[in-house]
Amino acid sequence: MRLMSAWFLLLAGITVAGACAAMTLRNLVHCALAVAVGFAGIGTLYLYLGAQFLGLAQLLVYVGAIAVLIVFVILLTRGSDPDLPQPAGTLFLGIVVAGGIFSVVAWAALHSFVLREAAQLAAAPTVRQIGTELMDEYVLPLEVIGVMLTAALIGAAIVAMKEKQDSR
């Protein structure tokens, strides 16, 4: 049985703190910065778990692209209206639902007897190995996700540009 290390607790704490701050702060730009911290914390968790390629991909895609995209959209829609809190009833209901789901999942994770651990850790694959598997066993999903990303890119551009064409 491998026990949790202090490093894991530290990284998980940073991640959860970033996520908490992103969901509770009032200033939207602060929220975007906090969520970038949360994404970076998840990337370091991947590194801790031995998935180096994934950790760096997470940093590139989430901290490098998605967090910046979120900041852009916040600045583009700035000055619409202040971010008011929800009425107390909705707030209470949302927190109760989330808390209930967390307690159910945490109870299952703590009490499940299916969760046996392997005798030895999975070996961390090299980038070469990941590339070979992507080109060999997972080549069809790779093609599909390539097509999907292209479609999403074109779709996002069209959706974001449409208004400009109409007003011309």
Partner: protein, 103 residues
């Protein structure tokens, strides 16, 4: 507590935070951020089960998460473009105003 259980607990906590944010925030952008956090929580589970699980082979968990990151990137791009388009029409990103509910 084992390392696998620790990972599962951390990811379920992250999922709950994302869900609470998506349900309680009024700004559309932050709802999208909450959904992204939930996706990331699921990804941590994939990696944890790949690393500590009894039946992991090759790089399955890592490749699944790679595809998941691709899908999440597409989702974020389209979602933020939709928010921008809606903002151009209504000049607001407030969910309560968009749905016309009483404030």
């Amino acid at each position: 507590m084992t390392a696998l259980t620790g990972c599962l607990l951390a990811s379920s906590l992250l999922f709950a935070i994302g869900l609470a944010g998506a349900l309680t925030r009024r700004n559309t952008i932050l709802v999208l951020v909450g959904i992204e956090l939930m996706l990331n929580a699921a990804n941590i589970n994939f990696v944890a089960f790949w690393r500590f699980g009894p039946h992991s082979s090759g790089a399955t968990g890592i490749i699944f998460v790679l595809f998941s990151i691709g899908v999440a990137a597409a989702e974020a791009a389209v979602g933020l473009a939709l928010i921008l388009a809606v903002y151009r029409h209504t000049k607001t990103t407030d969910l309560s105003r968009l749905t016309g509910r009483p404030q």
